[in-house]
Subunit: 248 residues, 2 copies
DNA sequence: CTGGATAATTGATCTGGGTCAAAGTTCGGA
DNA sequence: TCCGAACTTTGACCCAGATCAATTATCCAG
């Protein structure tokens, strides 16, 4: 109740936790000031829909904290997640007025939004924003293509291992500083959301997680907390060329 | 033999068939001139590999004519196509020195290549190139996400129908002018390549094509030429919300 | 502490698409 | 014209993962 209002929101870009990873990463002080003029924050609670596919979208923005999902659904209900939005990820497309995907907050989410029209103008004037957005989009395209391999060619077990790999990598890159003897993290998704990401059913997800646990590839504390005793083993299970280690 | 040399290659951007769709689409005369200084053409024969994943890549470029594929392979040989490169599509990534995907010419291909380093510099000076590349990358990201739904959630029959839909759309958008009473086109891919695109085996591809033929959804002349008597029917089979017609 | 909603596990069974195998087609080159 | 390689089709069988169904946590709200 009124949780939204009590949440501390950064007002100043200087304090912003995603300052150096988001679209604004390369902006100079003056550019930030311009962005600041068209920016506003929005909070969403876990489970809340940020945008429905087909809806008009008057803003673009960045996830500041929390996790959201990008999904596409068929008329008969089959659903495929097409993107996982983590802090600093960009939402929306300049030049497009309607959303094509459902965006749903998986946890409580804070978004830094920019009014679309002014943002588009800004983009044509400040190459730093456009350039950073290109870079981020190219990264997302790589991720999407990587995911196509997972969806098209991997077994259920490999799919789960691949997902765990990705989540572990992300956690390692964000929360390092912590001693990471053997890494551990919380699953930010329900079994059903994982199934939608992986093109599986939630039953299969559950079974494969159990199997990986029985085989000692992962250790579970509760249903959400995962410990990985041997990351290379996990990568082998994912079917990746695993000569990269955590930081590939 | 020596086919390469006999092929007419456009030297002048003004004559170029992809002038208004490729990265250079928005360039002014002076920008074209700059591009021209770092550009060269390369020909590839059907079946030839343009780049191997992992190889050093000193150029980026556009497909001028022909069709190429972007694929990613696992160590054990499982292969997933992650992109289909048609005329005007961009190859390579500015700022990246090694290829991550195999690029293979499916038909004879002409590419317009730019030396990578100078192209990167050009990009930071000419917003028209960077902006166009962003636009193209965003389109490709959408296509990749669309494809994730196909790979993750569609049945074999729907996958085939989806692929036919895409090829038909492309042909309609390129080759219109022709009376398109009922549309017809050639499949630019072998059954195996289709399988790699769709996350299926070539046997399943063959069976599903036969099934669609038996059910009158498509008509085959030979093994490669397809006629679609009723495009809406085909879109229904693809499981798409099909209230868009050919030009959705 | 209790009822009931949501999330997760596990079991039994079924099936779409994979696998293995054998022909049939097509086409360029000798 | 005929051969051989590459491509395609079709059949028989099998299995990974879907489907259907029943429990079992978990965790608020009352």
């Amino acid at each position: 109740m009124l949780k939204e209002e009590t949440k501390a929101i950064p007002r100043d870009c200087g304090e912003c936790p995603i300052r150096h990873r988001a679209v604004c990463a390369r902006c100079e002080a003056d550019e930030l000031a311009q962005l600041d003029r068209v920016k506003y924050y929005r909070n969403f609670e876990a489970g809340q829909t940020v945008i429905w596919a087909g809806d008009r979208m008057d803003f673009v923005g960045s996830v500041v904290s929390g996790i959201a999902t990008l999904t596409r659904a068929m008329e008969d209900g089959r659903t495929q997640m097409v993107g996982l939005l983590l802090p600093s990820d960009f939402v929306g497309r300049p030049g497009r007025e309607r959303a094509v995907y459902d965006v749903v907050a998986t946890s409580d989410v804070v978004m830094c939004c920019f009014r679309r029209k002014p943002f588009e103008e800004l983009m044509s004037n400040t190459p730093n924003i456009a350039h950073r957005l290109l870079e981020m989009t190219l990264d997302e395209l790589d991720a999407a293509r990587e995911w196509m391999l997972v969806l098209g060619r991997k077994t259920a077990r490999e799919k789960i291992a691949s997902l765990l790999t990705i989540i572990a990598r992300r956690d390692a890159s964000l929360a390092y500083g912590k001693a990471s003897g053997n890494l551990a993290f919380d699953l930010p998704l329900t079994r059903e959301a994982m199934a939608d990401y992986l093109g599986l059913t939630l039953e299969t997800v559950s079974r494969q997680i159990s199997a990986l646990r029985k085989d000692g590839v992962i250790v579970l504390q509760g249903k959400r907390h995962v410990t990985v005793p041997d990351f290379n083993r996990l990568m082998e299970e994912a079917g990746d060329d695993c000569d990269g280690g955590l930081l590939a």
